[in-house]
Structure formats: structure tokens, C-alpha cells
Symmetry: C2
Subunit: 190 residues, 2 copies
């Protein structure tokens, strides 16, 4: 039996995106956001939704660019801090000791120590309600060399985090389950 738990913004899995921007004075900033995902294959685009109150909101509108750095599990403390503190008051790179790297592709910084980076040019902003959705065209993807195989990033080595809103927790990625566009074929053949 199913029960109603009311209208809530919950999906499984939700990601942990660390959004990198420069402010008007060129200070690099990062914030953590879980409302987003890929939204187009061609051109490749990603969306992330932010409240107007965030420091990052103004930075994206001004610079028309942002990065998404995916933290590994071992950086959970830093990723969580990036979602607690505000760039209006804090220098989050200095506080964590992590290193801002200037993207050569878009006008935004990313977190050097994180294994997987999307470099995005703003193409659209969509006001939905309390959140505005920023759609960025992915201009390049950068990955730590030691976590790729034949140029494919390996999810097990990236070890990304999952955000679970309903119990305010982070989880890791688990075991391989099955091959996509493959395991379902036996139903099709019936």
C-alpha cells in the first residue's frame, strides 16, 4: 500500500553539485546545490537551480558562466561547508584550503582537488518560483587522469555523493547493478 507524504521536492538520487563562480571583483566562490541535472544531450547542457538570495545567483548573471565540480566522498566536509557558508561573508577556498583553478574555457573557477568538472556557459535562466534555474551549455569536461579508462571516467573512482533531503544525509554510490540498454532486451524479445 502507498501512502501520501505530501508535495515535497524529493527525487532519488539527488546530486551534490559544487557551483563555482567569480564575483564582480574576481573573487572565486563556490556553493553546493542539489537541485539540478543534465537537461540536454545536443548541445550538452546542465541545469542547476538557485535562490536569488545566494551570492552565486548574482555572480552567474554577471559573468554568464559557472562550473560544476563534483566532490568525492572524502571531500564531504568541504562540500557540506560550501552549502552552509555564504560567499558574501566568507572566502570559502581560504577556509577549506582547497584551490581555485581558473577555467580556460569559461569565466569561472573550479575546485582543483575535486575529480570531475563541468565548465558551463549560461544559455538560459528560468524563473520557476523560489528558485531560478540556470541552464548552462557544457563547453568542456575535465577529469582527473587517474580515474579514467579509455577516456571514460569511472564512477567508482570518482566516488560522488548523493544528497538525501528527507533525512538530511549524504550517501555514496553503491555496486554495479546491470548494463543499460541491454538488461531490458530480454523483455523486448518475449
Amino acid at each position: 500500500m502507498k501512502k501520501s507524504i505530501g508535495a515535497q521536492p524529493i527525487v532519488y538520487p539527488a546530486p551534490v553539485f559544487v557551483v563555482g563562480t567569480y564575483d564582480s571583483e574576481g573573487k572565486p566562490n563556490v556553493m553546493t546545490a542539489a537541485w539540478g541535472g543534465i537537461c540536454c544531450s545536443a548541445p550538452p547542457c546542465v541545469s542547476v537551480s538557485l535562490r536569488e538570495a545566494t551570492y552565486t545567483y548574482g555572480n552567474i548573471l554577471e559573468r554568464k558562466a559557472f562550473t560544476i565540480s563534483i566532490p568525492s566522498e572524502k571531500y564531504v566536509k568541504e562540500a557540506d561547508y560550501f552549502g552552509i557558508a555564504s560567499g558574501k561573508h566568507a572566502d570559502k577556498f581560504a577556509a577549506t584550503g582547497l584551490t581555485p583553478a581558473k577555467s580556460e574555457v569559461v569565466d569561472a573557477p573550479y575546485v582543483s582537488e575535486f575529480p570531475f568538472i563541468l565548465e558551463c556557459q549560461l544559455v538560459r535562466s528560468v524563473e520557476i518560483g523560489g528558485h531560478t534555474q540556470f541552464i548552462g551549455e557544457i563547453k568542456d569536461v575535465k577529469v582527473d587522469e587517474d580515474i579514467t579508462k579509455d577516456d571514460h571516467p569511472l564512477i567508482e573512482k570518482i566516488a560522488p555523493l548523493i544528497f538525501a533531503l528527507e533525512n538530511m544525509s549524504y550517501y555514496g554510490v553503491g555496486k554495479y547493478v546491470a548494463k543499460a540498454f541491454s538488461v531490458g532486451k530480454e523483455i523486448e524479445k518475449k
Copy 2:
């Protein structure tokens, strides 16, 4: 050292959403999509991007509604099949033996056997490129009774799938890592 792997639509984690709709004759259909996520807290909204060629695309525009059913790991075969076959030619519920349930909240069906359901009213469609993004307001969330604790769904019991594009595979959710809005506080206190 980081290496460039080119502009690709990859994030970690990407979800496995099973999108439920009725066609013009009232036949329930489902398709699997990985391009989406929560895009607003208030009102709670979710986005999912589809190609115009899909059967679901026309159904959503006509009915202005869809559901998202989250499959557990044990339904990986059915979820994969839902992304391979097209509702133009196949009755995917009949082929899998799964049961369409009529939402009482929006004009769309969901998969009874899947543990976690979002019932959505279409509020916006955004043409991005090869994909159109459908933004749905979440009107209600339904969860199997035996996987909640104090009305909170438990991610370990839902056992959702993760889609990894780069090696065309599904993964499960792993272990608890840390408390959100908490583990990062010690950096803030420094």
C-alpha cells in the same frame, strides 16, 4: 593532473526516472529518462528532458501531466526495457506485467510496484536543443508504507538506481557518508 574529455552530458549521479503518461486514447505508457532533477523547492518542481521523437513528449503536451516512478534495483530489467521500447508500438505495462495505477491527483498513471512516486502537473516546457525540458509541479508524493519511518522515505529501502552514461551502466546507492548541513560546521567554526 586533469585531462579534457570534451563536452559531454555527464553528471554524477544521474537518476533513473520512469515517466508515466496517458496517450490520446487513454493508454498508459512509461518511458525511462535520466536527464532531470528537482528544480524548485517552493512550489516543489521537478524537471525531465525528453526528445520530441518520444511517445511521452506528445502525451505530456496533450495531458499537461506526468508522473515519475522511481524503480528499485530489483526492477532494473523493467526500467531498462522502458527506455528501449517505444509506446508507439508496444504496451510496456503488458510486456512487463507491471500495473498502471491512475493518479487521483493528476491526469497520468504511475507504476504500482515501484516504491516512490511523484505526481506532476506540467507548468512549463523549455526547448533547449535536441531535448525539451518539462517542468512539473509536484502535487503529491506517494511512497510504499513499509519504507517510511515517521513519514520520511528511507533511501536504503527505496534502493533507487543511478545511471552512468559513460559506461552505460546502472549502479545502486551505497553507504551513509555524513550528515548534511552538519559535517561542514567544524570548518565554519575555525
